[in-house]
C-alpha cells in the first residue's frame, strides 16, 4: 500500500511540475529562450497568497485571484523590460539576463520577507479521499492538483490548436520571419505567451505551497529548474510532452526519495536530465531541428 501512496504522491508532484513546465516549454518554443525567472514567479505567487491570507486575513479565493493577476503582470513586465530589448542579442546575453532577473526576484523577496521560512496555510479545503477500506488515503490537495493539471492541459491544447492567438503562437515558434509576413504581431504574441506562462506559474504556486506548507525566497528556484528538466525530458516545445515529462519526473523523484536516498533525490533528477540529453536530446515527444548554414 505504501508504494501506491508514494506513487500517487509522485503524480501530485509531477502534476505541479507539468504546470510549471508548460510555462517553460511555451516560452522556449516561441521566444527561443530559457526563462530562468519562471521558477521565481512561483515564489512571488506564493508570497502574494501568504500576504493576503496570513497578514491581511482575507479569503483564499481573493488571494488566488490576486496572485494570478499579479504574476501575469510580473511576467509581462519582465518580458517587456528585460527580454524584449535583447530580442536580437546572442542567446548567451539573454540567458545571463534571465539569470539576473531570477536572482533579482529572489533577493527582493529575501529583503522584503526575511530569510526565515514562513509557514503557509493551505488554500485548498477539500476532504481527503479514503480508498481500500481506509488503508489508502489521498489528500484533498493531491486530488485538486491532479484534476487541475488535467483540466489545464486540455484547455491549453484546445486554446493553442483552435484559437487565432494560439495558432499565431505556433506560427511564431515555427518561423518568426514568415509569421511577420503573414501579419502576426510577434511582440504581442510573445507577451501573451509570457502572460499565460506566468498565470500558470501562479496556479502552480497555489498547488505547490498548499501541499508543502512552507515558503521562503528560494523555494521557487528548485521546482523551477526541475520543471525545466521535465520540459526537456518530455521534449521542449511540446505541450503533451511537458505533461508526460513532468509526471514521470515527479514519480521518479518521490520513489527515489523514499527508496534510494532522501538527500540524493535532487541528484537523481539531474542525473535523469543528463541521461536524457545524452541518449535522446530532443526528449520523448520533441521534434528534431536541423541547423542551416
Amino acid at each position: 500500500m505504501s508504494f501506491i501512496s508514494y506513487f500517487i504522491d509522485g503524480i501530485r508532484l509531477g502534476s505541479v511540475y507539468s504546470i510549471i513546465a508548460l510555462g517553460y516549454t511555451m516560452v522556449y518554443g516561441i521566444a527561443k529562450m530559457l526563462n530562468f525567472a519562471h521558477g521565481d514567479v512561483i515564489m512571488v505567487g506564493g508570497f502574494v497568497i501568504f500576504t493576503v491570507m496570513s497578514t491581511w486575513g482575507l479569503s483564499p479565493v481573493f488571494a488566488v485571484l490576486l496572485a494570478i493577476i499579479l504574476c501575469t503582470v510580473l511576467g509581462v513586465s519582465i518580458e517587456r523590460i528585460a527580454y524584449r530589448p535583447l530580442r536580437k542579442a546572442p542567446s548567451l546575453a539573454v540567458l545571463i539576463t534571465a539569470i539576473g532577473v531570477s536572482y533579482l526576484l529572489q533577493n527582493l523577496a529575501l529583503i522584503i520577507f526575511g530569510a526565515n521560512t514562513k509557514s503557509f496555510t493551505s488554500v485548498i479545503s477539500v476532504p481527503s479521499l479514503k480508498l481500500a477500506g481506509g488503508k489508502l488515503s489521498i489528500s484533498g490537495e493531491t486530488l485538486v492538483t491532479i484534476i487541475s493539471c488535467i483540466v489545464l492541459m486540455i484547455a491549453l491544447t484546445l486554446f493553442v490548436k483552435r484559437s487565432k492567438t494560439g495558432r499565431a503562437m505556433i506560427a511564431v515558434s515555427e518561423d518568426k520571419d514568415a509569421a511577420v509576413l503573414m501579419g502576426v504581431n510577434v511582440n504581442k504574441t510573445i507577451a501573451i505567451t509570457f502572460a499565460i506562462g506566468s498565470a500558470l506559474a501562479a496556479i502552480a504556486s497555489v498547488l505547490q505551497f498548499s501541499s508543502i506548507p512552507s515558503i521562503s525566497s528560494t523555494s521557487g528556484a528548485m521546482p523551477g529548474i526541475k520543471a525545466f528538466v521535465a520540459a526537456v525530458f518530455g521534449g521542449i516545445g511540446s505541450i503533451p510532452g511537458a505533461m508526460i515529462g513532468g509526471i514521470l519526473l515527479g514519480i521518479i523523484e518521490i520513489l527515489g526519495r523514499r527508496y534510494i536516498s532522501m538527500e540524493l533525490s535532487d541528484a537523481i533528477v539531474f542525473l535523469i536530465l543528463i541521461i536524457v540529453l545524452l541518449v535522446k536530446p530532443t526528449g520523448i515527444l520533441g521534434k528534431k531541428h536541423h541547423e542551416k548554414v
Binding site: 530559457l34 536580437k88 548567451l92 546575453a93 539576463t97 541528484a267 539531474f270
Partner: protein, 361 residues
Amino acid sequence: MIGVWNKLNKSTRTNFITIGVIILIYVLCQVMVAAGLMTFLMKGLLIQFCYYAILAVSLNLTVGILGELSLGHAGFMCVGAFASAFFSKSMIDVIENNFIRFSLAIIIGALSAAVFGVIIGVVVLRVRGDYLAIVTLAFGEIIKNVINVMHIGLDSRGFHFSMEVGKLELLEDGEMIIDGAQGIIGTPRDSNFTIGVIFLIITYLIVTNLVNSRSGRAIMAIRDNRIAAESVGIDITKYKILAFTISATLAGVAGVIYSHNITTLEAGRFGYNMSIMILVFVVLGGMGNIRGSMIAAVILTLLPEYLRFLKNYRMLIYAIVLIVMMIFNWSPACINWRKRHSLKDFMNQLMKRFIKSKKEA
C-alpha cells in the same frame, strides 16, 4: 633595454605589464602588512582576492573565450577543494613537510577537477546553449549533493565509507575525515597570500598563452561561428574539451587554495550562488577580457566588506549588474546611444573646438 622591449610582440608586452602590476600590488600589500597598516579584515581578504580572481579568469575561459555558459563552476572548485583537503587531512601525520604536502595537494586537487572537467566536457559536446547551462548547473548540484552524503573516516584498519550518519563504527584511534554536510574540519592551513598570488600569475599565463595560441584561435573560431569553424577543419570536440578541462583544472586549484585557508569546508558553500557570483565577476569585467575578470573579482570582493550598509543588498546588486550590463551591451537603443555619446567622439569634438579657437585667435 627599450630596444628589446619594442621588439617583443604586443601580447608579451601586455603580459609583462599585467604581471608587473600584480607583483607590485603584492609587494605593496606585504609592506603594508609588515608595517602594521592593514586591518585584520583586510588581511583575511587578501587570499580571497587570489582565489576569486583565479575562478573568474578560469570561468572567463569557458564563458568569454569558448562562448558557452557554465553554471557549475563552483562544482569544479568543490571537487578540487574536497579532494585536496581529504588528502592533506589524512596525510597530516604521514607527510610532515608542509611544502611537499601542499604541492601534492595542489596536484591532486587540479587532477581530480581535470577528470571531472573531461567527463563533463564529453557531455557538453552533445548539447549547446541553454541546455549546456542547465547541464552544468545539474552537474554542480550533483557534485554538491553527493559530497553532502559522504562520510569517510580513517582509523588503524584503514578508510571507512558510509552514506548514512553515524554508521562508520571507527576504532578509538579513528578520526572522521569527511563528515557529510559538516564537511571537512581542520584542514592544515597551508595556503597563504603568497601562494595565492603565485597561482594567480600562473593562471593568468596559462589562459593568455592559450588565447594567443593556435588552439586559442580555434576555440574563438568555434565561439564566433561553429559551422564555419568546423568547415575549415577545426576539431570542435577536441578544442571544446580542451577549454573546458583547463577551465575546470584552474577552478580546482582555486578550490585547493580555498580549502587550505579555512577551518570548516562544507559542500553547501559551493552551490548555485557561488557559481553565479563568479559569473558576475566575469560579466562585469567583460566577457573575454582576462584582466577585467581579475579587477572585477577584486572590486566585488572588496566593496561589500567596506560598504557595510550594502551588505544586505550585495546579491541584489549582483542581479542588477547582470541585467544592466547585458541590456547596456546588447539592446539596440543602448548601442545607438553609446554610438552617439562615445568618449572618442567627445574627445574629437573637443579637439576640433580647440583647433578652431586657436585658428580664430
